[in-house]
């Protein structure tokens, strides 16, 4: 026995030290990620939590860099034809799937067709509707998927043909709807292709584990073309719907990045965790919409303006939301690609002047303190929405004498009331889908259906937005959209209240984190 033991000893020591060193060397990143993603199927998912994980797993033609700005992804270069309709992408030659097979133009063709196939049931299919025949295919009017305007010229050249010019196409292509998929794997596993062990991806990471409501574990993909630049070996995503619990886990050192911070704790965090607190602008706007299909708001811009002016937004952001939100009277948030946000002349007035003007307009609309307008505000159940509604109704009452009642509804009931237009004034918010002002401005087009929050209709606005849609010149397009924004603000189509900020706690040990308006932070750009 003895000789065997002694010969084994060095081996065991070696093995143990190897194991020990590898566990020590493996860098782990623990990310709080908000809600549990509803699916990791890139064509069926929606929401930020799933998008964060899919961004680590897959690489589209164009991607968002560490600072959120567009950089080359699976495509190294791209050209657009003069009419803005034909885009040609040259793919990386060294891109591989995690199973070792090559990423080719056909993988994109397959994925785009699947995304628009009505049988897939993609909620976000409309992101790709600018592609030739995409809308018709998605609606089931064109049956043949081959009719879609996407073609593999050769293994590494992809051509996308559009219905109309979309100068911001690269920005759209960063969406998960535009990632490639390995046809073979999808065909083999069917719906189960998203499960760990089955999923094959082309991004910096692969899916290793998924325990619903516990964690999702990603491990570094050694086949990724830029694998040597990826510093984090393992990424854990935790569902953290309770932001107070998430804060505790951050303070206990169990989480490196939080998805949010509780608004009640912001003052404490600013004082005690200042180094870790990140609070940059985010592409979202919190607003109130009035039902313009019914009295008293239909054809009554004076009343709308009076209500708009009577809101003191600074009080709402300073005393209620408290997380650095930007009080606003504009619709499109600052910092969007190639767009300067419009301001109304009213927004330059002092609070006192605004109130004076509000009173005058209210009177002009035919109301007074003795003959007040009666309004009901609808909001979905949430502490902050409630506080804001109470504050706004108090402001309206104080300045104008408006009689306000509040109605709160649970989320799905609220959504139902909203689409059925069973409200007078409703609280709402909008987070942009991509880095272009149209993601906000399209919402007020009259042809967008119930997505238009207040049923506001304006022919000039519609035609400006339609022109902007087909305008290939970015400067001219910006002018058209600015003009449109000015029109909707002047007519008080909605009442913007504040622009969002994103709120994260980032462990100061993490390097490579860059605050950005899109709030995208791929793990591949971070290190510890």
């Amino acid at each position: 026995m003895k000789p065997i033991k002694s010969s084994l000893l060095p081996l065991i020591v070696c093995l143990l030290s190897f194991l020990f060193s590898t566990t020590l060397l493996a860098t782990e990143l623990h990310r709080g990620n908000g809600a549990e993603p509803k699916t990791l199927d890139i064509h069926k998912s929606s929401g930020v939590p799933a998008a964060n994980i899919e961004r680590d797993l897959f690489e589209g033609l164009v991607i968002a860099g560490a600072d959120g700005r567009l950089i080359a992804g699976a495509a190294t270069t791209w050209q657009v034809s003069e009419d803005g309709l034909r885009w040609t992408f040259t793919l990386r030659k060294n891109s591989q799937w995690s199973d070792g097979s090559k990423v080719t133009a056909n993988d994109f063709v397959f994925a785009f067709r699947r995304a628009l196939d009505p049988n897939t049931g993609s909620e976000y299919a409309f992101i790709l509707w600018a592609i030739k025949n995409a809308k018709a295919i998605s609606k089931g009017n064109v049956k043949s998927l081959e009719a879609l305007g996407i073609k593999a010229i050769d293994k590494h050249t992809l051509e996308i043909t559009l219905d109309h010019p979309v100068p911001y196409l690269p920005s759209l292509l960063t969406h998960s709807m535009a990632y490639p998929l390995p046809e073979k794997v999808i065909k083999t596993f069917g719906k189960k292709w998203v499960k760990p062990n089955n999923m094959v991806s082309n991004g910096a990471y692969t899916l290793a584990e998924w325990t619903p409501h516990s964690h999702i574990k990603l491990i570094k993909n050694p086949k990724f073309h830029a694998a040597e630049s990826v510093k984090i070996d393992t990424v854990f995503y935790y569902p953290t719907e309770d932001s107070s619990a998430e804060l505790k886990r951050f303070r206990a050192g169990e989480i490196d990045l939080t998805d949010a911070v509780p608004s009640t704790e912001v003052s404490w965090i600013k004082k005690n965790l200042a180094e870790a607190y990140h609070n940059p602008p985010y592409i979202g706007t919190y607003y109130y919409a009035m039902n313009l299909e019914k009295a008293p708001f239909a054809n009554n811009p004076d009343l709308r303006k009076a209500l708009n002016l009577a809101i003191n937004r600074e009080i709402l952001t300073d005393k209620i939301t408290k997380a650095g939100e930007f009080p606003t009277m504009s619709w499109v948030p600052e910092g969007m690609n190639h767009y300067k946000t419009q301001r109304t002349p009213d927004s330059k007035l002092s609070q006192k002047e605004r109130l004076e003007k509000a009173k005058a307009l209210y009177k002009k609309a035919g109301y007074s303190k003795n003959k007040p307008v009666e309004i009901e505000i609808l909001y979905n159940t949430s502490d902050n929405h409630k506080k804001i509604a109470i504050a706004i109704s108090a402001m309206w009452k104080q300045t104008l004498g408006v009689k306000t009642t509040l109605r709160n509804e649970e989320w799905k009931v609220y959504l139902n009331s909203r689409t059925q237009r069973q409200f007078q004034v409703i609280r709402a918010s909008w987070i942009g889908d991509y880095d272009d002002a149209s993601t906000f401005l399209d919402l007020l087009r009259s042809d967008i259906g119930t997505m238009n929050p207040s049923s506001w209709k304006n022919k000039t606005y519609d035609s400006l937005m339609k022109q902007a849609e087909t305008e290939a010149d970015a400067d001219k397009r910006e002018k058209m959209m600015q003009q449109a924004e000015q029109i909707m603000l002047d007519d008080t189509a909605i009442i913007p209240i504040y622009h969002y900020t994103s709120k994260h706690l980032v462990n100061p040990k993490i390097k490579g984190w860059v605050d950005n308006v899109m709030d995208v932070h791929s793990s591949r750009f971070l290190s510890k």
């Binding site: 049931g121 719906k191 619903p212 935790y238 009331s417």
Partner: protein, 306 residues
């Protein structure tokens, strides 16, 4: 005994069918649907989704499909967590809720019965008041207050225990304690009341008159009847505790099934809600059956009546 079981199971089937039918139609009566979101999806896409999930068919047909599927053990895919079937979600989450719940229950019984007995034996003394104050506090303070406080103190300030997650025994300590605290209080109060009752009954006097030592009186004569109310409480309580607590799961980030009740309903995840309702229904029926059997064993009067 066998008769009791068979009789109960006979009632169980129509009960379950009733529960399934009522909940199936109730959840669909609630306004809104599983695919509604802040970003209303285009009509054509909504129709595609409804077709994929058979939601475009008449309600009664959907109900028929559903019954047929559950007869074959298929609870369908979750509407919200689309990569998982309802059975997968329940099977993955239940072991977590089960171990958490059983440990909490065990702890509650151990501490609760001991505390309650001490209080009963020293009725109206300082010890009694102390125990009862503790019990009242335990019942009065909700777990969404206790759990974060425990996490803050033992996790953040002292750094002894993790404040969330699931997998190691350390991660179980705080959730088990938070879950058991109100139960300890309930058990202690019930034990106290029941033991006082028992101690005042004539056969206790007889035992005392015979000169038996207190320890024997308690163990041989008082324990069984004292436990009766706790046993009847235990049936539904076990079912409730081992199917998870949405609050504890949320606060400690546990992958149990408690949240599926609440979130499933809020998300209009029809299949998931139905799945957990049926699961919970079956558990309650089984637990109550078990309680009846234990009851019969504990209390000879019930046996004779049968």
């Amino acid at each position: 005994m066998l008769q009791i079981i068979l009789k109960r199971l006979q009632i169980a089937v129509p009960t379950l069918l009733f529960v399934i039918t009522v909940s199936f139609f109730m959840i669909r009566l609630a306004p809104g649907g599983p695919f509604d979101s802040e970003r209303p999806i285009p009509k054509e896409i909504a129709e595609n989704l409804e077709r994929v999930y058979h939601l475009n068919e008449p309600l009664i047909t959907q109900y028929g499909y559903y019954l047929w599927n559950i007869l074959h053990g298929d609870f369908g895919p979750s509407f919200k967590y689309q990569d998982y079937t309802v059975s997968e979600l329940i099977l993955q989450g239940f072991p977590v809720s089960l171990s958490l719940g059983l440990l909490a229950l065990l702890l509650a019984l151990l501490i609760g019965i001991v505390l309650g007995s001490i209080a009963a034996l020293r009725q109206n003394s300082r010890v009694d008041y102390l125990v009862m104050t503790f019990a009242m506090t335990g019942i009065a303070i909700p777990s969404f207050v206790i759990a974060p406080l425990l996490a803050l103190f033992f996790g953040v300030m002292l750094g002894w225990l993790p404040t969330g997650g699931w997998g190691s025994w350390q991660q179980m300590v705080l959730p088990v304690i938070s879950l058991s605290l109100p139960q300890i209080a309930i058990v202690a109060r019930m034990t106290r009341a029941s033991l006082i009752d028992t101690l005042n009954s004539p056969y206790m006097l007889t035992a005392k008159a015979k000169g038996l030592p207190l320890r024997l009186i308690l163990l041989r004569h008082a324990l069984k009847p004292t436990l009766l109310p706790i046993v009847s409480w235990l049936g539904p309580a076990t079912a409730a505790i081992i199917t998870g607590s949405v609050i504890i799961e949320q606060i400690f980030g546990l992958p149990g099934i408690g949240r599926y009740f609440v979130n499933g309903a809020l998300n209009r995840d029809y299949t998931l809600v139905m799945g957990v309702v049926i699961f919970y229904g079956v558990l309650i029926i089984l637990m109550n059956l078990l309680v009846d059997l234990v009851y019969a064993w504990l209390d000879p009067r019930i046996r004779y009546e049968e």
